[in-house]
Amino acid sequence: APKQAAKQKVIGIVLPTKDEPRWIQDETRFNDALKDTDYSAEIMFSQGDPAREKQNVETLIGQGIKVLILCAHDAVAAAASAEAARDAGVKVISYDRLILDTDAVDYYVTFDSVEVGRKQGQYLVDHASGQNNPLYLYAGALSDNNSFLFFQGAWEVLQPKIADGTFVIANSTKAEALKDKNSLTRDEIADIIGQITTNWDFNTAKNLAQANLSSAPKTLKGNVFILAPNDGTARSIADTFAADPDITSYVITGQDAEKPSVQYIIDGKQSMTVFKDVRVLVRDAINAAITYLEGGEPEATTTYNNGVKDVPSKPSEVQVVDKSNVREILIDSGYYSESDFTWPTE
């Protein structure tokens, strides 16, 4: 954390883990956004460990912060941390993942995770024509609640198209068995994810994709459609499919607009990604924090129910990025610079 002695250190930020690229991005963006304010913040990482997360929160409280921006590793388990903060008079802003089952959350800045899934699903639907298109499903970690939300959103969109025969599920007997049911219970989703989980891990994703391709008959190859939960796993799954001679073309989803995946999209190796503009999220979070520090209430456009309370919130838009609009959305907006990528020489 940069030392800015003159500024008041009254904001604490806790992010899930340095082990996932996404959060390293968020850290950078937070540091950028804070430069122009009168406050400085301490940013901590929980390394996927809820105990460490709680320890982080306790430490921040001990340092006398007034606002906590918490992105929980585990949205449910974070309630204890939020309550500890509330008890110390600290305002709690839930960041990206809603802290559930507690009234100790004051505000929620977020992308809509179910919407992310819907957008991924919709992209596949929009690019499919005819009948019996093979569909490969992949999901995040069983241990991450977001995995469930993403899948739920995607399933909502995909299921009718599976039921009407546009898609045939190629790699999950569990999903196949539930193909006539549009809204799944958590247990049913868990069953499916248990079979198609990447654990958010590239190597697992690759092993799984290879296994799927080995067991798929020729009829389930050719032009295929792949639901990949995020960019990291999408890349290793895409590489695997690209290496199979029986795959003529594939459409694959992603999420996060990680730099390497943007390059993949430019190169035509990944079809799309769901762009969650971290700058917006960060800005909303910081603005809310400053509003709290200055005695106000941040603006809310909607509320989310977390099981105990309706949390005021201002969800940020998520956008689909593919080859057609990548320059416009990511470069022209200044999110990334042009020189970060190699472009086709036309």
Partner: protein
């Protein structure tokens, strides 16, 4: 005066092993206190530190005995996580009350430990690999136990108090020493007095037995240190919310294990089996039984650790227990347990666990980058053990 200096030097040189950990701990604490500009030793941070260490401390204590008998247990991390999830399931879906759930979990832990112990004692499987198999199996079991909901929120006040609550104060004393937790002060003072008395009487007995005790001035010095240290911590804790349930449990477990290892036949047999298994066997000790007991106790403590952890987070999570085993083992090694068997004190392992946690807590306070945190932890661990090995071989 000169003789005091000589005594002190001799005393320090001779007891460097026993006191090194304390000295290291205090040194680390002072460094952090200075660097953090006074927040490190604030009442709330001390209390946090204690509560943060609880679930690892009980594992460290248990694994100390496992290492003493020349074995290892890698399964304890995920076993702890899994059992925490079992507790959550029992309370939330089967409507067990907190006490029954805890009892069942401790029992299951003991059973799991018994299973490990049997593989080691009766089938002769190296403990590293037997418990590595457990590591995998319990990891899967944890995923199964939490898959219904992902994370299971525990809404049981009694249970959650274990990891978050404090013992009540004596009622009716609100106006006496306001801002302090009176029961904590009282217990602290009682503990100090008890320690002083028992030290004096044990010294007297030593003299009677004709064993040369430490010089009188050193004895006084030691007493002053212990009294001051304990009193300081008591004051700090009392200025916040007092003794937490976690602290009480950890202290209780430590005292029980201290008692067992230092005073009972069982304790002696454990150290004998660790020091020389053949000799122990030929002396009529049932070595297999001892192995079973130690692993069973380990399993039970894993259950307790799972309870402490789940209660602290008021929930059971899918990844609870990840790496606990490594941190607990590291704590025991920092506390001076020896892989060669027969050597290692539970109290020192407790301190070892605290050293680990103090480092982490302090680095968090100072805002050290997490990558550096890992590196520093690794380096400190290496230094601690190098120091340990060096001082031990010197005395030898």
């Amino acid at each position: 005066m000169n003789s005091f200096g000589q005594h002190l030097k001799k005393f320090l040189v001779e007891n460097v092993r026993d006191y090194a950990m304390f000295v290291a701990l205090i040194a680390i604490m002072i460094v952090f206190e200075v660097l953090s500009g006074g927040t490190f030793l604030s009442p709330d941070n001390i209390t946090n530190l204690i509560n943060q260490t609880g679930y690892l401390a009980v594992l460290s204590i248990g694994v100390t005995l496992v290492i003493v008998i020349r074995h290892i247990d890698l399964s304890i991390g995920f076993l702890s996580g899994f059992l925490g999830a079992v507790a959550a399931n029992l309370m939330m879906f089967y409507h067990f009350n907190a006490f029954t759930a805890i009892l069942v979990v401790l029992l299951l832990g003991a059973l799991a430990g018994l299973l490990n112990g049997s593989m080691v004692a009766y089938l002769g499987i190296p403990s590293f690999i037997a418990t590595l198999a457990g590591w995998m199996a319990y990891r899967g079991a944890l995923l199964l136990a939490t898959r219904g909901m992902g994370t299971i929120i525990i809404k049981n006040e009694t249970f959650n108090a274990i990891g978050n609550g404090f013992i009540p104060d004596i009622p009716g004393l609100e106006n006496f020493l306001p801002g302090y937790h009176k029961l904590t002060l009282f217990l602290g003072i009682v503990a100090i007095i008890a320690i002083i008395f028992s030290s004096i009487s044990s010294r007297r007995r030593q003299i009677q037995r004709g064993i040369e005790p430490i010089p009188f001035d050193m004895f006084i010095l030691e007493m002053i240190f212990i009294t001051a240290g304990l009193f300081y911590i008591t004051l700090k804790i009392a200025a916040y919310n007092g003794i937490s349930w976690t602290l009480l449990i950890v202290l209780g477990v430590t005292m029980i294990y201290y008692f067992i290892t230092e005073r009972t036949v069982l304790g002696r047999h454990i150290y004998a089996v660790g020091g020389n298994p053949e000799a122990a066997q030929l002396s009529g000790i049932n070595v297999k039984k001892i192995i079973l007991i130690v692993f069973t106790s380990m399993g039970m403590l894993a259950g307790l650790s799972g309870i402490l952890f789940a209660s602290r987070l008021k929930s059971a999570t899918t990844t609870a227990g990840t790496m606990f085993e490594l941190y607990a083992i590291a704590g025991a090694y920092i506390g001076g347990v020896s892989a060669a068997g027969g050597v290692g004190k539970v109290v020192n392992s407790l301190i070892g666990a605290f050293v680990m946690q103090t480092l982490q807590n302090g680095m968090l306070l100072l805002g050290v980058d997490v990558s550096l945190q890992y590196i520093i932890l690794g380096v400190v661990l290496a230094i601690a053990v190098i120091f340990d090995v060096a001082t031990r071989s010197r005395v030898h």
